[in-house]
């Protein structure tokens, strides 16, 4: 029998509650949480998935330190020790040990995606191992968000969440900026101005808690800070900028950098031969899927009112749709 103190509650209130649980050899904290669910508190909420330290779902705080519950062995505690398990402090709590980690997805969505070189088609990308090696370290991330949770910039200063993207997104920024084929040139500015890399004071807690042992600070944040210095704090570069007005040039380049518009219906229609399709008929526009007050889809599975993502065609459209109602001619291949 071991003593556990587990935070129980939800957004309105909560408290640490004591439990006595049986523990067997070789178990991890997540096993004990499951035994508690099975024997004493069937309503204890905790998130988990793989039990192998690879999905990043079971992040909690154990004795005050952010950890994966499935990778924290019971053998690391003494027999008489009370083990405290609390939800991640930095994110809004949903219930018990489950928190809403949307913050991290919001920040991820603000990150410009990989942008391939314009002169290469997919399949033509060639990279050398030495060039991609640095980025590969960051691909080990399992998105457990322990680093985001421990970072004092947002953990102790809620207001910084607006300006600060957090260590997990800094490794993403470094991964893309070091990518040999990424064509974007404004990533350093993005990291400084939109991700707030300046808020990080390199105290390395993110590196300390990362279960994948990614050297977040040494290999991603400090290199990104140095790259920002290249662009922003180098007196010679700054002078060159002022003299040659390169800022404006870059802004124009950024403005021109738009994704190609999807092909308009007109360009498609003239290819199809006119059949019985009424090309002029009005198409019923389906209502857009439900979004939250921020105008976006709900980010986490707990907040959304159905399983899976909302339909991009609207919830009241059922398939198959009657083809008569569509401006669409199905190509026939059996005629010739």
């Amino acid at each position: 029998m071991r003593n556990f103190r587990i935070w129980r509650g939800d957004a309105s209130s909560g408290a640490l509650e004591d439990y006595q649980v049986e523990v067997n050899e070789g178990e991890v904290v997540l096993d004990v949480l499951h035994r508690l669910q099975a024997t004493q508190t069937p309503d204890l909420a905790c998130r988990w998935n793989c039990k192998a330290g690879k999905c990043g779902s079971c992040s909690v705080e154990i004795n005050g330190m952010p950890k994966l519950a499935c990778m924290t062995r019971m053998s690391t505690f003494t027999a008489d020790e009370t083990i405290t398990v609390t939800p991640l402090r930095t994110f809004p709590v949903i219930r018990d040990l489950v928190t809403d980690v949307s913050y991290n997805y919001v920040k991820a969505r603000e990150m410009p995606a990989f942008s391939p070189p314009p002169d290469l088609a997919p399949g033509e990308y060639r990279m050398q191992q030495v060039d991609v090696e640095r980025s590969q370290e960051f691909r080990k991330c399992i998105e457990c968000f322990l680093c985001q949770n421990v970072c004092h910039v947002v953990r102790d200063h809620e207001e910084n969440k607006l300006a600060f993207a957090g260590p997990r997104l800094f490794i993403r920024a470094a991964e893309l900026d070091m990518h040999p084929l990424d064509a974007r040139t404004d990533r350093k500015e993005h990291t400084r101005d939109r991700q707030g890399v300046g808020y990080c004071n390199i105290t390395k807690c993110c590196t300390e808690v990362c279960p994948e042992h990614i050297k977040i600070t040494d290999n991603a944040i400090i290199p990104m800070k140095e790259r920002v210095v290249d662009r922003r704090y180098d007196p010679l570069v700054w002078l060159g900028r002022k003299i040659f007005r390169r800022d404006q040039v870059e802004q124009q380049a950024a403005a021109e950098d738009t994704t190609p518009a999807p092909a308009s219906p007109e360009t498609v229609t003239h290819r199809a031969s006119p059949g019985q399709v009424n090309w002029a008929q009005e198409i019923q526009v389906p209502p857009a899927p439900a979004v939250g007050p921020d105008g976006r889809f709900a980010m986490s599975e707990v907040l959304i009112d159905r399983a899976g993502a909302p339909s991009p065609f609207g919830d009241d459209v059922t398939f198959p749709v009657d083809p008569e109602q569509l401006r669409y001619l199905h190509p026939r291949t059996d005629e010739d």
């Binding site: 935070w7 913050y103 953990r155 404004d186 707030g196 290249d230």
Partner: protein, 278 residues
Amino acid sequence: MTTTGAESAPGPSKAQPAVTTRPRAAIAERTLRKDRWWLPPGIVAIGLAAWVTYATVRVFLKENYWVAEHHYLTPFYSPCVSLECIPEAAHFGRFVPDLPILPYAVISLPILLLFRLTCYYYRKAYYRSFWLSPPACAVPDGHARYTGETRFPLVLQNFHRYTFYLVVVITAINTWDMFLAFGGEAGFGIGLGNLVLLLNVIFLWLYTLSCHSCRHVTGGRLKHFSKHPIRYRWWTFVSRINPKHMQFAWISLGTLALVDAYVMAVSAGWITDLRFFN
């Protein structure tokens, strides 16, 4: 999301989702850590305070910095540029008037101080130990408001790279002093003092070259290592010693104090130099 730094002030876009409005778990304890988390920052605070005290006293003592017999010069007085310096100890000339507030090595010491002050490792050390921001992981920050290194004066930490360039020159001067010390008044000779000086110079170089800015300028800034094989080799070398930067930071502090104490002791006649050769 297309943006350049020039058009956007630091800060988020206006349309932010309401991630910041819903409450966190109500946990009364400020931290639930039960281990002795205060020990590492405490040790660092004591270590740094002790070293700074020693160095300050020594730098303003203005004596016992040169062993005439064996030509040992402590790095705290190198290069000795004050008009009051012992002429033999001034390897690079004497041209700065002596004022009580100025140390004899008035050019190198401020640069070295700035270098270590803006060093990524020391930043971590003093932000944790002295500024308590945060004192340890998952322990609350000691401050109500926090802007990190985005504002003056801390934004100046970004100039670390330029102090690195200057310190390479100073470390070369220390190396030069170390070589000169092999030739004392009686010609070539080797004593314990030479070995201590050599040890110090080795660790000064390891500390300086393992610098994160060094890692960046030698090769880290490149996008294509394959196009710059020589710089890639450099970067690989720096990357090998860079993870030990913290250790080198402390060891080099230790060897600096050791060399200085040794030179002071020999110079003051408290001990005699142990000679291996001549």
